[in-house]
């Protein structure tokens, strides 16, 4: 017996919100990046769950695959940026990067 | 055909991305060819459009986001065609006006072409979601173009401009979403939506969203202050496109969306709109009189001239609306010309302070003559297209709001005063020693200048082809609004 759909959805929401907290509150850029991945994972879980429960003929899964690949790209570029910043500023603390100050 | 025209600049932009940045001539040639292609297609469309048939022609409909009922739905009617032609003209001239751009020229042309794709798209979309998407595509590059390549307080201006425009977009998006849900059809297809008659009470609630969202861009008083700052800060070609075309997006949106969907509400609001745009006209002219920077003079004159557009729209008469669209066209061409020349003067004299300039006619007779003709167009001299536009607006406005029209027409005297003062102070008077070495406009500049000039004079002498084209677009609207002839 499968658990009802909203169990999956709530799990996804929890992951998303944990990630959200991380993105907003973490000083380490790497942790912030991981948090973004968590948010994306939550979204992915939503897609897969809906795919199963609404019978959308794999559309959700295909979408999730694309999300995964984009997430991978994002992680690669993001981490490269983090490393570049670390080299230049000797820091990965997001609170210190305020160059866009208006 | 329409699609090809819209995406030719975007295709060229992607091509430019592939070119190495040091192939400077190639970059320019690609940009010029793309804009030339767009221009040729725009001209072709104007001729191919069947005026007797009227309505929206050259329709292409593709499913875009079926879930939302959004389509890739493009086409053109008389109003669109006039605007598309204007955009193509200004783009073409703008590319030539920025021929000598030196700093990061490749990125500049890429953004310019992307911006224009957005503008073209807005004018030909007949799907509200597509319309909004293209609209944002036009606004965003503007920020970068001003912030990176601008002058005088460019960050401030870019920031201010973007905030204002995005504030406008927020209203627009809200308005469009409300429309979307209130039709009961859940479609963004404008042709379908515009077939409906909305309940008057609903119209009164929805109209302000859409109207204000667009009016910020027009720019209507008192939401105009972003525009002179933006004009002044932007680089030449961007000023041209900004004043020449981008401001028209607002007026176009008012006509295409707000007026078409909510004729009853528009009618109820029109006295207020007419009053505000009369303020625009007079106020813009007076403030222009007090400006010291050449670009600010032109900027405020645009505020004033766009007031005529709104006045024509608010008149609800066929003549007034036709005049409004014609004014959009000719103001676009005229300001394009102005900014191209101001750019040239600035490049040669390194200042735009009117008091510091003077006697430039000796060093640059061709630029001076061209500027003088643009100035004459600005003050509504017969024989140039602005005259036809203004007169039609006056005819329309006078019929519905005689008192306001009198005030608006009075501005022609003030306009004459500031335009002549500016022209004379910059170009006439004793030639100054320090500008003796200033160069006149050369072949590359002349391509754009003469094209715009020719259009200005051509449609000034024989306006009927364009007036007829615009009328076919305006007529159904007037019928729908139950307006006066």
């Amino acid at each position: 017996m499968s658990p009802p759909l909203h169990h999956y959805l709530i799990l996804a929401a929890v992951l998303f919100c944990l990630g959200l907290y991380g993105v907003l509150a973490k000083r380490n850029a790497i942790v912030a990046l991981m948090s973004v991945e968590l948010m994306l994972a939550g979204v992915n879980l939503n897609l897969v769950a809906f795919d199963r429960y609404l019978g959308s003929r794999y559309l959700g899964q295909v979408f999730a695959l694309f999300t995964v690949s984009v997430a991978a790209a994002e992680a690669a570029v993001g981490l490269a940026l983090v490393i570049a910043l670390a080299r230049r500023r000797n820091s990965v603390d997001l609170s210190e990067f305020t160059d866009l100050s208006g | 055909m329409v699609t090809a025209m819209v995406f030719a600049p975007l295709a060229a932009a992607s091509l430019l991305l592939l070119l190495p940045a040091n192939r400077r001539l190639a970059i320019r040639v690609v940009a010029a060819l793309a804009s030339g292609l767009s221009l040729a297609l725009a001209v072709y469309l104007c001729f191919a459009y069947d005026q007797r048939l009227g309505g929206v022609q050259f329709l292409t409909r593709l499913r875009w986001i079926p879930v939302l009922g959004a389509f890739y739905l493009v086409g053109a009617d008389g109003i669109s065609l006039a605007m598309v032609l204007l955009t193509a003209l200004v783009l073409f001239a703008g590319v030539f006006a920025s021929w000598r751009m030196e700093e990061r020229d490749k990125e500049f042309f890429v953004l310019l072409l992307v911006l224009v794709t957005g503008v073209f798209g807005v004018f030909v979309s007949f799907d509200l979601l597509l319309f909004l998407s293209f609209y944002e595509l036009a606004v965003i590059p503007m920020y970068l173009l001003i912030a990176v390549w601008g002058s005088t307080r460019k960050e401030y201006a870019a920031y201010k401009l973007t905030l204002y425009l995005l504030a406008g977009s927020v209203l627009l998006i809200l308005g469009v979403i409300l429309v979307y849900f209130s039709t009961g059809m859940l479609t963004f297809d404008f042709l379908a939506i515009s077939g409906l008659r909305f309940d008057p009470a609903l119209q009164r609630r929805l109209f302000p969203f859409l109207f204000l969202g667009f009016a910020v861009l027009v720019p209507m008083w008192p939401f105009h202050t972003w525009s002179p700052d933006g004009h002044a800060a932007a680089p030449t070609a961007v000023s041209m496109l900004h004043a020449g075309v981008l401001m028209k997006l607002g007026a176009y949106g008012v006509i295409r969306v707000a007026l078409t969907l909510f004729p009853t509400a528009a009618r109820a609001w029109s006295p207020l709109i007419a009053a505000l745009c009369t303020v625009n006209i007079l106020y813009g002219a007076y403030v222009a009189l007090a400006q010291k920077d050449l670009k600010y003079v032109i900027g405020y004159s645009s505020v004033s001239h766009m007031g005529y557009v709104l006045l024509g729209i608010a008149s609800f008469t066929a003549a007034g609306l036709t005049g409004a669209v014609f004014q959009m066209f000719s103001h676009g061409v005229m300001t394009g010309l102005f900014f191209a020349l101001v750019g040239h003067v600035y490049a040669q004299a390194h200042t735009r302070e009117i008091a510091a300039l003077g006697g430039l006619a000796k060093a640059m007779p061709v630029a001076a003559t061209t500027f003088a003709i643009a100035a004459l167009a600005s003050l509504g001299l017969p024989g140039l297209s602005s005259f036809v536009a203004e007169v039609l607006v006056f005819f329309g406005a006078f019929r519905r709001f005689p008192a306001l029209a009198v005030l608006g027409i009075a501005a022609i005297v003030v306009t004459a005063s500031y335009i002549l003062r500016t022209t004379q102070q910059v170009f006439f008077g004793p030639p100054q020693e320090r500008y003796a070495g200033a160069k006149d406009a050369r072949t590359v500049d002349l391509v754009g200048l003469f094209l715009l000039l020719g259009v200005l004079v051509g449609f000034g002498l024989l306006p009927q082809p364009l007036v007829g084209l615009i009328s076919t677009g305006v007529q159904p609207l007037v019928t729908r609004m139950g307006g006066m002839p």
Binding site: L100 | T225, I412, A416, Q424, F428
Partner: protein, 661 residues
Amino acid sequence: MGGIPAQLGREFWQALAWPLGAAAPAPAAPALLVVLPALAFVLAGLSLRRRPGLAAGLAIAVTAWSLVASARLFLTVRLLNGELVASYTWVAAGGVRLEAGFAVNPLTAAMLLVVAAVSLLVQVYSTAYLAGDPGYSRYFAYLSFFTAAMFGLVLSPNLFQLYVFYELVGLASFLLIGFWHEEPGPVAAARKAFVTTRLGDFGLLLGILLLYWHARTLDFTRLAWLAPELDPAVLRLVALLIFAGAAGKSAQFPLHVWLPDAMAGPTPVSALIHAATMVAAGVFLVARAFPLFAPAVAGRLPLLVVAAAGAVTSFLGATAATAQDDVKRVLAYSTVSQLGLMMLGLGAQSSTAAVFHLITHAFFKSLLFLGAGAAIRRCHHEQDIWRMGGLARPMPLTALAFAVGGLSLAGVPPLSGFYSKDAILLAVLEQARGSRPHAAFLTVGLAVSALTAFYLARLFFLIFTGAPQEEGPVSPGRAHRPGPAPREAAAAPPAMTVPLLLLAVPAAVLGYFGQRLLPVKEHLNQTLAGGTTALALAGIGAAWLLYGRRRPARDPLVAALGPVHRLLRSGYYLDDLYTRLGNYLVRGLAATLHRFDRTAVDGLVNGVAGVVLLSGRTLRRVQGGWVQRYLLYLVAAVFLALAAWLWHGLELYPAGGMGRW
């Protein structure tokens, strides 16, 4: 294939050849009157910049053609005793249809003839006057442009086209006043002229709009026919507004201040535009729209206003002219005064007399200007009459021509001015029976006659008689203008004297013949004619006593009149008044609004839009550049909006939005 262009070409050549003797009337000939000079303008302006001779030749050839064509048109119209009319739709949008075309009737044909004749002579004269000027081609281009615009104005079959060309002649005037655009004086004068006349045009445009929406047509013929059926109250307003336009262009009080300043342009331009043709356009306009002014359709008020404005202007101009020292300013105020007289004639319901005076005035006033120009050139662009003198000896022909023009304008019989001026005064006299305002106007007219004779005689005596004056230092700013070499004593070149003599002929005899040629109804009134002649001779006599018998070192009137002289000299201080008014009202208002815009509107809107955060400490806190803080705001806003949405009982997942895929 090629049907339309070929036919156009054929018609073009037919029309071009028509005045030269082709028998069949060419319908396009009147249109060519506008097109050819316009082409000459474009060619001379663009391609002939480096070939001044060719530019001048082209302009003159075109004008000569126009003169022949106008003459032939004039004869044709007289023969037909009707009107040649053609009208095409120029712009049609919704309920507005604007037409363009031409209408040739005796009035317009006569005007065409005058414009063409004076233009031609002035252009020939200019070849010598401006010889060597760096802007020579440009000058002739502008002149051609003016000719085209003026023909268009005269030929207009409707009020709208007339307005179009009204603005265009205004532009031509602007360009030519500011011809020496490197000097500040002409530039400012040009702007003043344009803006002031535009003030009048504004009224004209309003009149046109009002009339159009009331009568649905602007065609003169149809209007004349319709006028009795229209609402008299509206027509009264329309007539007054049209007169506002006429007052601007024809320098009527209170809009006359630009004309004396317009003398900053080259002297031939003053002769052509600011004496003979363009300034008369206002008079022409009222004459053309005369059916709208008729007391039967518009009440008495409009014509009374016209007459009053004319009388006031005429008096102001004539008195101010007596106190000027600059020869061109004397003539300019004289023009103002004579234009006022024409308006007075119109106001006295006699458009014929007004137009008659317009035509004769065109000849003798341009003659006076050209004569003055020759003298000015001889004195190296010195325009102060107190520094001229004794020029009759070196330039006798010029002096003779000037004398003819002066006597004609002064109204000495049997010269032209005598007939035309008397026609106007006679019309006023007829109105004066039973109308007290008109009696006052008649007195003004008589006073003006005497004053006119006085100031013209003063001018003549001071310039042409007496001992030659020492050559003082040339006024600064004019040193570079072309002229004869300092020691050159030769008389004016033939290109200048021949036009003078040719102009002197109509200035002398046109009145006598014109009286028969034109349908002038009024016959000479013996008493009136005798009276005006006596007044004119009295004026001349007074001038001879003061200036002619023995040349005074300085103007005796200055001491005699004291502050009154200063008042007259300054043109009744109207210029100062307007300048101050302009500075305080327009510039001051502009500056205030500018500050208002920068502070209030900007601030208010930014505040209202919730973008107060643009400045100050708030800005620092919000725009710290710390991206995570931005993100916090963004996310919080989204979820708060979502919460608000739910709070209002809206479903998060509306059933309609969740279709099956």
